[in-house]
Symmetry: C2
Subunit: 243 residues, 2 copies
DNA sequence: TGCCAAAAGTCTGGAAACAGACCATTGGAG
DNA sequence: CTCCAATGGTCTGTTTCCAGACTTTTGGCA
């Protein structure tokens, strides 16, 4: 019989669950905080609601919240108008953080994450460029671009994230959105570990503009190329800080 | 404060676990069977080994295996040289199956799956074409292409799956492989529900050849275009059978 | 000023999942 | 023919996780 499983079996018969519910929940909330989905000073949804959204029990959620509270990411207040308030401010990067973040990803993790991100973000841009966009969608994309360009240094990464994810969001494919969010998550810690430098921002701004122009112009080839170029730049930047 | 969570929150605060361990395991094994990772007549790894791979207890795995046994997908034999043998043969498609499969995906599920597949497979091809391939990799790709072309009708879908996944596999990115496998899974039931027609096979063969040529030729643009064209053909075929 | 609604905090019983030891069956090797 | 290794089958105690009822705190509002 002809067998051709290759690495497929490896990825298909991989662990059904990443860890226990508590650990996974902590990870998830931390991601939401670090990506800025819930910004500094805002609060998470009420426990009951959030537990339902995450598909876990309140007990487990509360354990996760307490862990994040003890690590200083959340400030929990009771009573009406209480809740779990985010107190996270992206730390200013220090030398060694990047190396540490890369080591945490395990062997091959960096290349894997960068490759994955390249694939899904290029795919999303290509698809969006091949779609007939409504006026609202065009405005939304332009607005995100403007937000990145106008962002204060402290907000830059968050706005950059929002811009990149908006491309996937506009395709309207939940699976694709999820994949792009996942890809971005895997490089967040790395990006947060390198300083936000003016020349890089300016360079990125030009590339962002090219991406938007290609998408609005309905040119999938150009969109793909623009995203690829931009991500290669980011990858090169990371590798530069690593050497 | 500028908030721009959009759909991000939706995908980030989604359920931590898809269901209980038992259900997820059944789903996984069924996927492995339907994708042909473990072909007809072959057996799954020993329970202890498989449980470790899936990160679940043997008890839970055994419940899942028993469910699949009772559904007729597995034949379990004890003793040395025993094991759980796959007895699945893709059913010959019947009118109405496609409609049913689409309905099972829920509203928007079809478009979501097709969009996602387009994005990740185009991304994988683009990346592979931009990589310096070893002789072994080139041969592997060519071999998979030949397998599809030589496949008996009953084996066609399996070989087609293997060919498509091999592109992702050759990138060496587990995340990307996983995404492509996931994308393929979401259309497997649909493809299995439509007949394998000679004209379609021949048309696909030409497009497959174009994809391989572009990848081996190191042309990311052409590779992306060839995959997009091929997948658009498949999507059109599906839509045709649906109308 | 007292009430009330919304939120976090607490407790309990039960179900799900696990780890690990042990049993039963099978077919080949010596 | 006997033994043995590899496999599925079974049992037990423990841990994790859950659903839901109940309690406490808080701040606005009538």
């Amino acid at each position: 019989m002809v067998r051709s499983a290759g690495a497929t079996g490896v990825s298909l018969l991989r662990p059904v669950r990443a860890g226990n519910a508590f650990e996974e929940t902590v990870e998830r909330l931390l991601q939401a905080i670090k990506l800025g989905v819930v910004g500094h000073g805002e609060k998470l949804p009420p426990e009951r609601e959030l537990a339902a959204q995450l598909g876990i029990s309140r007990v487990t959620l509360r354990e996760a919240i307490r862990a994040l509270q003890e690590s200083g990411f959340l400030d929990v207040r009771r009573g009406r108008y209480g809740g779990a308030f985010v107190v996270y401010q992206p730390p200013s990067p220090r030398k060694g953080d990047l190396r540490k973040a890369v080591n945490e990803m395990g062997p091959g993790g960096l290349e894997d994450a960068l490759t994955f991100r390249m694939a899904v973000e290029c795919g999303a841009a290509q698809i969006l460029a091949g779609t007939d966009l409504t006026a609202a969608q065009r405005e939304s994309l332009a607005a995100r671009l403007a937000e990145v360009n106008d962002a204060a240094p402290a907000d830059y990464r968050r706005m950059d994230t929002a811009f990149h994810l908006s491309i996937a969001e506009l395709t309207g494919s939940p699976l694709l959105i999820s994949a792009c969010a996942d890809a971005r998550l895997r490089v967040t810690d790395l990006l947060n570990a390198i300083p936000v430098l003016q020349p890089n921002i300016e360079h990125a701004a030009v590339q962002h503009a090219a991406i938007v122009a290609a998408i609005l112009g309905g040119d999938p080839e150009a969109a793909r190329r623009a995203v690829a170029e931009h991500l290669e730049g980011t990858a090169a930047l990371l590798r530069g800080f690593l050497s």
